[in-house]
Every structure is written in C-alpha cells, then in structure tokens.
Amino acid sequence: MAISRVKTSSILQGFPKSRSLLAGNTAFSPSSFESIATVTVGSGGAANVEFTSIPSTYTHLQIRGFARTSRATYGVDALRYQLNADTGSNYSWHHLRGDGATTEASAGTSISYMESQRILGTTTGASFGALVMDILDYKDTNKYTTVRVLGGVDVNGTVGGIGGAVMITSGNWRNTNAVTSIKLYGDSANFAEYSQFALYGIKGA
C-alpha cells in the first residue's frame, strides 16, 4: 500500500506509544539539542533581547527567531547582534541576499556589530521574519567566533517600494573569549510584541 499521507494519530493508533528505541521505555529524544532560554517580547516592545550567563556545556549554540520591529514605512528591518557586550569595532559580516528582483552581496568590516539585513518583519508590513542563527564553537578560546544566519521575511510583494528578502549571513567576532552573552536588536526600531527568540545548545559527541 502506498503511503501518501501520514497522520501522527494514525501512527500511534492501536499501538503502545513507543517513546524510545525500546518500546515501553520513557520518552526518547536526542539529548544533543537542548532548550536553554526563550524571550517573547511583550506589548510594550523591547529595545533588545539579550541572553546572558550562557553555560559552557555545549559545543554550538542556535537561536531560532520569529520577529519584527515597529519600523515605519518599510516591511523589513535588519537584525544586529553583539557578543559579550563588546561594542568595539571587532566584528565583520558578509551576506548574500535576494529581494525578489535582484541579488546582492555585501559586507561590513571592523564595525561594532554583526548584521543580517532585511530578515526582520515590521508592524508596517504585517509580517514576521524568521531566522536560524548558529554560533559555532562558541566556547573555544583558541579561535575567533563565527556566526552564520539563514533568515528572511516576505511581505507579499513590496511595502514602501521594498520587497521582502531572504539571505544567508556569516559573521565574525575577532575575540577568542568564550561567548557568554548575546545581544540582539533591530537596526531601525524596537522589537514589536510577539517577537520571539529561543536559545538552544547543541552538544558534541
């Protein structure tokens, strides 16, 4: 019989709920991916979201976001991020972006933040941006820290003459300290209500 539809209820129907590799044991889930903390922005908005006191018990970190700012006029905004409250010109970034009409590649060097342009939605555009940010080898004190981001927002066309965009970003922090805090903020305006950022830790073997 061809399997063309999958229902979680039908998978479980008539069978004991096998929650582990050995049926009948307690719930199984990969132990290498853990939730650390989540921030959801309230009705007053927020100038930034910051994860602090990040434990050093993981190999990599991942931030999964769904966010927008209160920026006027346009439907997109840029996400900026700093590590360990370092506001010096110790960051750089590169990106590849598509906005529905053109592709663009650009970079920032020796600046005070890393940036992913046009991956946040806005209240003006009514959309939220989605993003997945990986902070790789974040506790390794032998090398600079590298960040990569996949993110984007779609506004069903254009808002204020600018379309949504999808992009990939790489960022670099020229510091060998372990990352213990991450600050996220919008370029043009505060984060708006319902914006959410969740921090996860990924363990190595």
Binding site: M1, A2, I3, S4, R5, V6, K7, T8, S9, I11, S29, P30, S31, S32, F33, E34, S35, I36, A37, T38, P55, R64, G65, F66, L96, R97, G98, D99, G100, A101, T102, T103, G121, A126, S127, F128, G129, A130, L131, V132, L150, G151, G152, V153, D154, V155, N156, G157, G163, G164, A165, V166, M167, I168, Y194, Q196, A198, Y200, G201
Partner: protein
C-alpha cells in the same frame, strides 16, 4: 535544560505518490523542521499548502545560484507556496530540502517559513527561500506535493518538533 528536537512522523514512499500530507499536527512544539529527500516522475517544483488552504494566501521570495548565475524571484498572492523555485526536482538525483516553520502554532500572526534546497546535476543548484502564509491559524496540516507528476518511490519526508522553554 530540557532535551528537544523530536521526530514527529516520517515516511519513505513505497510507491509513487501525488502528495505527502502531515496532518493532526499538535501545537506541542515551538518550531517544526521538515527534511525531505525527493525525486519526481518528471522535472517539477516542490509545492506546499497549509491546513488545506487553496486560497491565494501565499507568497515567497528566493535567492538561488545554479553554478553560473545568482538570481532572485518572488511570487505574490499564490494558491500555494513552494520549497524551491529555481532548483528543480527531477527523476535522477535526490534533492535535499530542509524547511524551518518557526512559531507555527501561534494564532496571532501570519506564518513565515524558511526553506533551503540543494541538488547537483541538471537543474541543480543551491537555494534559500522565505515564504509567508497570510493566516493566523495554527498550522495543523502540511501538504507537500509536486507541481506535476508524482513523488518517486524512495522519497523520504521527516517532520521534527522543537520545543523551547
């Protein structure tokens, strides 16, 4: 800290299929991740609909590279979204697609999802795509289907849930 990233459902097609639909998705997670390895009966674009919504409520924007040029397109007021636009599923080589559905179960906002697609060979390349579903309903059904023809035998589709705390 709580471990998360759970497999919700998976299927490997034993014969060709016109669609794969994950239904009765609960709101137990924060995000969903769908991983597909697919071939088709012909050269096709991978489509997607939520909650059986066939209205013109979808839009998307992509960026892609095919080995010689980079390009970007958008679709507005579409009857379905897509997981890739310029990298095509074909009959010979598997196409890998990873889709992130962030905050899928909230009932306040429109839904945005991110897709990454990769394939080598003819009509291959690397692509990222963002899509909007203009509905505040929680996503409870995800239908993945080809623009024409069928998914081929052996194609795999696995849905994971990630829960934040």
């Amino acid at each position: 800290m709580t471990a998360t990233y759970e497999k919700i459902a998976t299927t490997t097609l034993g014969s060709s299929a016109s669609d794969v639909t994950f239904s009765t998705i609960t709101g137990s997670y924060t995000d969903l991740v769908l991983i597909c390895q697919v071939k088709g009966s012909t050269t096709i674009t991978p489509y997607l609909q939520f909650n059986s919504d066939t209205g013109s409520n979808y839009s998307w924007t992509n960026v892609a590279g095919d080995g010689s040029t980079a390009s970007s397109s958008r679709g507005s007021n579409q009857a379905q979204s897509r997981l890739a636009n310029q990298v095509y599923v074909d009959t010979t080589l598997n196409m890998n697609i990873i889709v992130n559905f962030n905050n899928y179960s909230n009932t306040t906002t429109y839904k945005t999802f991110l897709s990454r697609a990769n394939k080598t060979g003819t009509d291959g390349g690397a692509e990222a795509l963002v899509s909007l579903w203009r509905s505040t309903a929680a996503i409870s059904t995800i239908k993945v289907y080809p623009s024409g023809g069928t998914w081929s035998t052996g194609s795999t589709f696995t849905l994971y849930g990630i829960k934040s705390e």
